[in-house]
Amino acid sequence: MNDLKFSREICERCETFDCLTRCQYLKMDFATAREERGRLLQGEKARVLEECVTCYACEEYCSHGNHPFYHIVERQEQLGIWPVPKPVTKQQILMMAPKGKISPKKVQSPVVNMCYFPMFTGSIRGKLFEGASTIVGSDFFCNVMWLHFGKNSVIRERLPEVIANIWEHYLSDSGVEELVCFHDECYGTYTRLAPAFGIKVPFKPVHIFDYLNKRLDELKDRIQPLGQKVAYQRSCSNRLVPETQPWVDEIFKKIGAERVDRKYDRENALCCGTIFRAQQKDDLADDVQKRNLDDMAATGAKFCVFSCPACLFTLGESVFKRGIMPILLNDLCQIALGEGMKGG
């Protein structure tokens, strides 16, 4: 049930092995990548299974859309490989488990899914989100996180219920079909991951960037261009939905912010490093974070936009210490709308 839609044939026919040769961390040459591909297809232990840092990038790199990263995760679980130590993995699975605390209520469009980030619900405010309803809690957690832990089984187990919780307790009764996803991961879950595992999604996910972009058009008379340089920290999960990147450019343009040209952006983005620490790879995390922060600082950016709460928690303090204000993209838009950081 919910088998991964991975095509062995497509993978066998691939002659570029982009998923492996373009990896920023494994640095595989062509020959090694070919061998690794073979082992993966045979279900054997492979270097990538032990060393993958789970940055999701290969999902983007694969020119065939054949889900190489999800396949890696499947193999990890099949072969009993734990990218993150067992107790840490098991505890996280318990921590993020649904708690059955659902309070059905009528909602109205736009309905913003805050996933399991209640601490950011306060940012859904002002003209930008006028009339918005929010859904938040462990029972709406999108579960994509388990890709980092080699646990597709947890996604298969929990995701259908999460989708049902959202649809049956909130959207369906209220006659709302669209769900604005606050976090890249949620949008990635409902538009990429769920279909890849054959899980049906009855509602239409809307990416927060898409929502912001359109809303800024509606509020264009209120915009006071920021005239600031802004760095963008692209999260891992945005790799699942690379089509959303042009929206970031459009939003920046509309609010008069310059998306600074830097080395570790777009396809070359670096992971925030939290998951490296979970994998006990502190040296790698230190290195990646330093390169990323040095890169941001060199641009003279005044803000760094995060679209992922985990990235924000991980890097926010360090970014701030470099004289750059960490901020969510919707909060940056609020500033451009004259509504400040806390509702004006």
Binding site: P87, V88, Q91, A97, Q280, F313
Partner: protein, 459 residues
């Protein structure tokens, strides 16, 4: 007793003595489960001279005398078991001297942990003392005298080991100085003299009233971090302790285990706090600690939690305010714990037994441990919360505590700051020669038997 009251009022001033029901009620209790025992008087002296006069009075009148610091031991050691005078020493809270070069501070014994911490932060920011996790109202003197431990105990041992010297009023009224201060103007240590501090450490105020203490200070390094190492097999924890403590770069190593929240049940968390003078040094220490646990990490049987900086703040606090919050778990303002001092290899036994006791007594629990020195022993605590408005709940906690005291002794440990019933258990197992020595010391120092009677009573 009216004459005693009048005399006390003459000594400290009428504003600082009370025989009123309100003070007698409050000072008869501490926040633990022990039954109340009312004093006849509560006195708040401000100087050693006043303490001396009170001790002489108590001697003359054969009135029991119970010194009290913060009153936060939770095992009822500052309750006057046989009435008499409770001596609340917290007015004696002056910070007398900080010797930066030799890193020590001399304080009056009633100085609170919090105020010393704040004073050092402001005036001597490169120095700190070892802060226990009791609330900041706990006193320096009280905590040292009960062999307390805290945030530097992995680095430097029990707080009693950090004692450089003390001033005390003996039960017969003499004022004595113990340590280098008895000869020198400096309070640098207890060596090389015969160590008379042992006449006061761990005696629960039965051998005199300590009025001043000098304790060691340590570098207050500006960069701090914590790693939380998680396992799900208690058998691995002694190895975690042994390895991490063996590196000797951490300041504090503590374990915590609890059935709630749900995600914590069945896991053992070891917090390893370390500090450095530069970010590079901090990373170097982190890597040393991590390397010491490489085997477990490589086996995937343990690992550090990936805590983003905002989530580390609670673990970097000293004292940790979340520990006091355990008292509201039963919505009842109470908890008490048995702190078992024992070798680190007993961790799995203690851990499992604690869970069993709680289940048997129908109470919830929290357990943990603090490493003393480079793993020379640990203070393993078994904490039981209770609702003080529900006598049955209090009784459940009491029974759990009593059973736990017995367990600790059976395992080969010793309950720390033991309440009176546990003291009797301890004495019951003590070497007769040791017992006899304790008895002789008590009799010699306190012939009238006025000092905190009912505690450490050999006979």
């Amino acid at each position: 007793m009216e004459d005693v009251y009048q005399e006390l009022a003459r000594i400290v001033g009428p504003a600082y003595v009370s025989n009123q029901p309100e003070e007698r009620f409050i000072y008869s209790r501490d926040p633990g489960t022990m039954e109340p025992r009312e004093p006849d008087f509560v006195v708040l002296p401000a100087t050693t001279d006043e303490v001396q006069k009170i001790v002489l009075l108590a001697n003359r009148k054969k009135v029991p005398l119970v010194p009290m610091g913060g009153g936060l031991v939770l095992s009822g050691l500052s309750r006057p078991l046989k009435g008499g005078i409770v001596l609340d020493l917290k007015r004696m809270n002056r910070i007398l001297e900080v010797n930066e070069k030799s890193r020590y501070v001399l304080v009056e014994a009633g100085t609170s942990q919090g105020m010393l911490q704040a004073y050092l932060k402001k005036n001597h920011p490169t120095l700190k003392h070892s802060v226990p996790d009791s609330p900041p109202m706990a006193t320096i003197g009280g905590n040292v005298l009960i062999h307390g431990s805290g945030h530097l105990s992995h680095a430097a041992g029990f707080h009693s080991e950090m004692l450089n010297g003390l001033e005390a009023v003996l039960p017969t009224g003499e004022v004595v100085k113990i340590g280098s201060c008895s000869i020198s103007p400096y309070w640098f240590g207890r060596a090389p003299l015969p160590d008379l501090a042992g006449l006061f450490l761990g005696w629960f105020g039965t051998t005199g009233v300590v009025t001043k203490v000098a304790i060691k200070l340590y570098p207050n390094r500006p960069w701090q971090d914590v790693g939380v190492f998680v396992t799900e097999d208690p058998e691995l924890v002694p190895e975690v302790f042994y390895q991490a403590a063996g590196v000797q770069v951490a300041e504090d190593i503590t374990a915590w285990m609890a059935p709630k929240p749900d995600w914590a049940r069945g896991f053992q968390h070891v917090n390893i706090n370390y500090a450095a003078d530069t970010p590079e040094e901090l990373i170097w220490k982190r890597n040393l600690i991590r390397a010491s646990l490489k085997k477990l990490i490589d086996q995937k049987t343990g690992g550090f939690l990936p805590l983003p900086p905002p989530m580390k703040k609670n673990f970097l606090e000293a004292p940790q305010t979340t520990l006091a919050q355990f008292a509201d778990v039963r919505k009842g303002g109470g908890f008490e714990y048995v702190g078992g001092i024992m070798p680190i290899e007993l961790f799995p036994n203690a851990y499992r037994a604690g869970i069993e006791i709680a289940a048997r007594q129908g109470t919830t629990y929290s357990t943990g441990a603090r490493i003393i020195g480079p793993g020379h022993c640990m203070m393993f605590f078994f904490a039981y919360p209770f609702n003080r408005a529900d006598e049955a709940d209090v009784e459940r906690a009491r029974r759990a505590l009593e059973e736990t005291n017995g367990l600790v002794l059976d395992l080969g440990g010793i309950p720390w700051k033991a309440e009176a019933p546990a003291q009797r258990q301890i004495l019951g197992r003590m070497d007769p020669g040791t017992l006899n020595l304790m008895d002789r010391i008590r009799a010699m120092l306190d012939p009238q038997g006025i000092m905190n009677p009912g505690n450490w009573e050999v006979r």
